[in-house]
C-alpha cells in the first residue's frame, strides 16, 4: 500500500474517533441512570438501589477514564491531522470547542471525584447534586460537539470572506438545520446503549444465579428504558432521514442505493452497490417503500447519485452501515419489548436472559454504524460545500502517520478487550459479595 498521507490521516482520525465515541456514548446516559438510582434510593431508602449505584458507578468511572484519555488524543489530532480545518472554519469551530471545554469538561471531571469518592465526605444531598452535575456536564458536552458536527454537515449562519468562514448568526450556527435531529438521535442512541448495557450485564448476573434485589432493579431499569426509548429512536431516525433528504441528498441516495433519479424507489433489503457500473448487483427490495418512507408518497422522487457525479460519498460503505444500524434497531425493538413483556408478567425466560446478555454491547454497533453513515456520507466534504477533506489534510509525512496509527490501533484493541472483559469480571465479582453486608462489600473496593 502506498503511504498516501490523506488516506492515512483519515484512517488514523477515524480509528481514534471511533474508539473515543464508544465511551462518551456510555457516560452521557449512564450519568442520568446513576442519578435515577440515587433518586430511587433517596425516595425509598431501599439499600438495593444504592448497591446498584455502587456497582454501576464503577463501570462509569472506568468508562469515563477511557473517554477522557482518548478525548485528549482528539484535541491534539484536530490540528495535526486537519490543519486546513481551523484555517478555514476556525471562527466557528474554535468557539464551539472552547465552550465545550469550559462549560462541560471541567464540570464533569471535577464533580466526578466527589461523585466517586465523596460519599462519606459530603452530605447525601451534595452527593446527589454532584451526580447531577456530572450527568449534566456530559450532556452539555454532547450538545456542543453535536452542534459543531451538525454544522459541518449542514452549515448555516456564516459567510465566506477570503476563504474563511465568518459568523453572521450564532443561533443559526448552533441550531443549524440538522442539529436538533442529530442531537436527539444521538442522545437516544446513548440512552439505548446504556439501557442494553445495564440490561445485558444484569441479565448476565441473573443467568449466573445472582438474583439479588439490586440485580433485579438494574435489570428492570435497563429493559424498561430500552423498551421506552427504541420506538422513539425509530421515529427520530425517520425524521432524521427526511432532514438528510432535504439537506444532503447525495448522502441519502448512497444510504438507499439510488444510482439514478427515480420515482417510486424500492426499499432495498439487500444489494451490492457497484461504483464501476453505477448500479446495484443482486438487488432485493420492497417496491416503492423507500419513496413512501422518505417522501411520504408511493411514487415520490428520490434524486439519484447520477446528479452528484464526482461529489458523492462511497456508496457501499454508507449503504451497508445504514443497514447495520437499522438492523440492530429492529433487533433492539424485538428484544426490549419481549423482555419487558416477560418482566411485567414475572421472571424472564432463560433464552431471553441469554439474548439480553448477547446484546450487552449492541448499542455500540448501532452507534458506530450510524456515525459511519453520517461521516462517510459527508465525503468528499469535511464541511459540506465549504471545505473538502483533501484540502484540510496535513503535510505530516505518511510514514510518521502510519507508525503512530499502528501504535494507536494496537493500543485501542488491547484497551477495548480489557474494558469488555473487566466489565464482565466486575459483574461476576459483584455476585460473589452478595452474602456480605453492604459496607464490607464497598470497603473491599478501594480505588
Amino acid at each position: 500500500m502506498e503511504f498516501d498521507p490523506v488516506t492515512l490521516a483519515r484512517i488514523q482520525f477515524g480509528a481514534n474517533i471511533s474508539f473515543h465515541i464508544l465511551f462518551p456514548t456510555i457516560s452521557i446516559a449512564m450519568g442520568w441512570v446513576l442519578l435515577f438510582f440515587k433518586w430511587r434510593f433517596n425516595a425509598t431508602r431501599d439499600e438495593a438501589w444504592m448497591e446498584a449505584y455502587g456497582f454501576w458507578v464503577k463501570v462509569f468511572a472506568l468508562t469515563f477514564a477511557v473517554g477522557v484519555v482518548s478525548g485528549i488524543t482528539m484535541s491534539f489530532q484536530f490540528g495535526t491531522n486537519w490543519p486546513g480545518y481551523m484555517r478555514t472554519v476556525g471562527n466557528i469551530a474554535g468557539p464551539l470547542l472552547a465552550y465545550e471545554v469550559l462549560t462541560a469538561f471541567f464540570l464533569e471531571a471535577t464533580f466526578l471525584g466527589i461523585m466517586l469518592f465523596g460519599r462519606s465526605r459530603v452530605s447525601n444531598r451534595m452527593h446527589t447534586l454532584a451526580t447531577f452535575l456530572v450527568a449534566f456536564g456530559t450532556t452539555v458536552s454532547a450538545f456542543w460537539i453535536i452542534a459543531l458536527n451538525s454544522w459541518m454537515q449542514t452549515p448555516a449562519g456564516f459567510t465566506m470572506v477570503n476563504g474563511q468562514a465568518h459568523v453572521t448568526s450564532w443561533l443559526e450556527v448552533i441550531f443549524n438545520p440538522s442539529m436538533p435531529y442529530r442531537l436527539i438521535h444521538m442522545l437516544l442512541a446513548s440512552g439505548l446503549t446504556v439501557a442494553f448495557l445495564v440490561a445485558g450485564l444484569s441479565a448476565y448476573r441473573w443467568g449466573r444465579g445472582d438474583r439479588g434485589l439490586a440485580v433485579r432493579h438494574s435489570l428492570k431499569t435497563g429493559v424498561y428504558l430500552a423498551a421506552l426509548l427504541i420506538p422513539l429512536q425509530i421515529l427520530a431516525g425517520d425524521a432524521h432521514g427526511l432532514n438528510t433528504f432535504h439537506h444532503q441528498p447525495a448522502k441519502l441516495a448512497a444510504m438507499e442505493g439510488v444510482w439514478h433519479t427515480e420515482r417510486g424507489a424500492p426499499l432495498l433489503l439487500f444489494a451490492l452497490p457497484d461504483e464501476a457500473s453505477q448500479s446495484n448487483r443482486y438487488q432485493i427490495g420492497i417496491p416503492r417503500l423507500a419513496s413512501l418512507i422518505i417522501t411520504h408518497q408511493p411514487d415520490g422522487e428520490i434524486r439519484g447519485l447520477n446528479e452528484f457525479a464526482g461529489r458523492h460519498p462511497p456508496v457501499g460503505k454508507v449503504f451497508w452501515s445504514f443497514r447495520a444500524m437499522v438492523a440492530v434497531g429492529v433487533l433492539m425493538l424485538a428484544t426490549a419489548w419481549l423482555a419487558a413483556w416477560q418482566l411485567r408478567r414475572g421472571e424472564p425466560a432463560g433464552w431471553t436472559v441469554s439474548l439480553l446478555t448477547a446484546m450487552t454491547f449492541s448499542g455500540w454497533l448501532a452507534t458506530l454504524a450510524g456515525w459511519y453513515v453520517t461521516e462517510i456520507g459527508r465525503q468528499p466534504w469535511l464541511v459540506t460545500g465549504v471545505l473538502s477533506t483533501a484540502d484540510a489534510a496535513s503535510t505530516v509525512p505518511g510514514g510518521m502517520i502510519l507508525s503512530t496509527l499502528l501504535m494507536y490501533l494496537a493500543l485501542y484493541l488491547v484497551l477495548l478487550a480489557s474494558y469488555v472483559s473487566v466489565v464482565f469480571y466486575l459483574a461476576r465479582k459483584a455476585g460473589k459479595h452478595d452474602e456480605l453486608p453492604l459496607s464490607a462489600n464497598l470497603a473491599g473496593e478501594q480505588a
Binding site: 495535526t80 468557539p95 472552547a98 464540570l107 471525584g113 469518592f117 459530603v122 466486575l426 473496593e445
Partner: protein, 336 residues
C-alpha cells in the same frame, strides 16, 4: 484599544495559565505515578488514593491549554504539533496507559493487577519524559542536530525529576507514617535531580537559542530578571535544608510544615515558568511566528473571551471546593 493588539496577548496569557495549572496539577499526580514502583506493596493503594479524586480534572487543563492553542493560534498549533508529532504521540500513549490503568488496576482480576500497576507507572514516566522533550524541542525552535536533541532529552529528564519532586511533596502533605517518611526520602533525591536539571537547562537554553540569550543578557533587563534565578536558588536551598529537619520531626510524630516541600516546589515551578514565558514572549514559535501573526481573527477570540470570563472563575471556584472536600490526609479511598 485595538482588539487585534490586545486579544492575542490576553489569549497567550490564558494559555500560559492553563499550561501552568496543568504542569502543577497533573505534575503532582504524574509524579506520584512515577514514584509508585518505589512504594511498598501495601502503600501503593494509598498513593493512588491521594490523587484519585483529582486526576481527571487535572488533565482537563491540558485539554484547555491545547484547545486554546488550537482555537486562538491555529497557525502555531499546526506548526508546533506537526514538529512535535512523535513526542506528542508518545505522551498520549503514556497518558492513555496511566489513565486507564488507574481504573483497571483496582477492577481487574488479581493476576492482572501488577501489570496495570506497571502500566500506570510506565505511562506516567513516559508522559513526563515526552512533555519535557516537547518543551526542549520547542525552546530550540525545533532546531535539527544531535545537540538540540540532546538538550531536549535533558529537558525530558529534568521535567520528570521535577514531577517526581512535586509528587513526593504531595505525598508528604497527604499521607502519614512509613509512607510519609519514605516520601521525604524520595523528595530529597528528586530535589537533586531537579536542581541539576534546572541548572543545566538554564545554562543550555541561552546556548541553544541565541534568540533567548539576546533577551536575557542585556542591561538593565538582566538585573530586573535576576530575582527569578535567585528566587529559585533560595527555594532549592530552603528545600535542601528543611527536608532533613522534616524527616526528624516526622519520625517524632510531628506533622507541622508537612505542606512546605510541596509549596516550595510549586514556587520553583512558578519562577521557572515565568522565566520561560519571558524567554519566549511575544513569539509563539520561537524566531518564526509572533502571537499576533498566529492569532485567529478577533471576532472568534472575543466570543471565547466572554465565555471564559464568566466560566473560568466558576471553574476555579468549584475546583477549590473539590480540594476542600478531600482536604487532609488521604485515607483508603472507597466508593462509599
Amino acid at each position: 484599544m485595538n482588539a487585534e493588539l490586545w486579544l492575542p496577548v490576553v489569549f497567550a496569557g490564558l494559555m500560559a495559565i492553563s499550561l501552568l495549572a496543568y504542569v502543577i496539577l497533573d505534575g503532582y499526580d504524574l509524579g506520584v505515578g512515577i514514584l509508585l514502583p518505589l512504594g511498598a506493596k501495601a502503600e501503593r493503594d494509598t498513593m493512588i488514593a491521594s490523587i484519585g479524586p483529582f486526576w481527571d480534572a487535572n488533565e482537563t487543563w491540558l485539554v484547555l491549554g491545547v484547545g486554546l492553542l488550537l482555537v486562538a493560534f491555529p497557525l502555531a498549533h499546526g506548526i508546533i504539533l506537526g514538529e512535535l508529532y512523535l513526542p506528542v504521540a508518545l505522551m498520549l500513549l503514556g497518558l492513555i496507559l496511566r489513565g486507564v490503568a488507574f481504573d483497571f488496576r483496582v477492577k481487574a482480576r488479581d493476576p492482572h493487577q501488577p501489570w496495570w500497576n506497571a502500566a500506570f507507572a510506565a505511562g506516567s514516566l513516559l508522559a513526563a519524559l515526552s512533555q519535557g522533550v516537547m518543551l526542549g524541542r520547542y525552546l530550540t525552535g525545533f532546531a535539527p542536530g544531535a545537540a538540540a536533541w540532546g538538550f531536549a532529552l535533558l529537558a525530558g529528564v529534568g521535567l520528570a525529576a521535577a514531577y517526581a519532586l512535586l509528587g513526593a511533596g504531595w505525598l508528604i502533605m497527604k499521607t502519614r507514617g512509613a509512607l510519609q517518611a519514605r516520601a521525604i526520602g524520595w523528595a530529597r533525591r528528586a530535589l537533586y535531580g531537579t536542581g541539576l536539571a534546572v541548572l543545566a537547562v538554564s545554562i543550555a537554553t541561552p546556548l541553544a537559542s541565541s534568540h533567548i540569550a539576546a533577551k536575557w543578557f542585556v542591561l538593565p533587563d538582566f538585573l530586573l530578571l535576576l530575582p527569578l534565578p535567585l528566587g529559585s536558588l533560595a527555594l532549592f536551598v530552603l528545600l535542601a535544608l528543611s527536608l532533613p529537619r522534616l524527616a526528624r520531626r516526622q519520625a517524632a510524630g510531628n506533622d507541622t510544615l508537612c505542606w512546605l516541600p510541596f509549596a516550595a516546589t510549586v514556587g520553583i515551578v512558578l519562577l521557572s515558568f515565568w522565566g520561560l514565558a519571558y524567554s519566549v514572549f511575544p513569539d509563539i514559535v520561537i524566531g518564526r511566528l509572533t502571537i499576533w501573526q498566529a492569532a485567529s481573527s478577533p471576532e472568534a477570540l472575543s466570543v471565547i473571551l466572554w465565555g471564559a470570563a464568566v466560566v473560568l472563575p466558576t471553574i476555579v471556584g468549584y475546583t477549590v471546593y473539590a480540594y476542600r472536600v478531600f482536604w487532609g490526609k488521604a485515607e483508603g479511598l472507597s466508593y462509599s
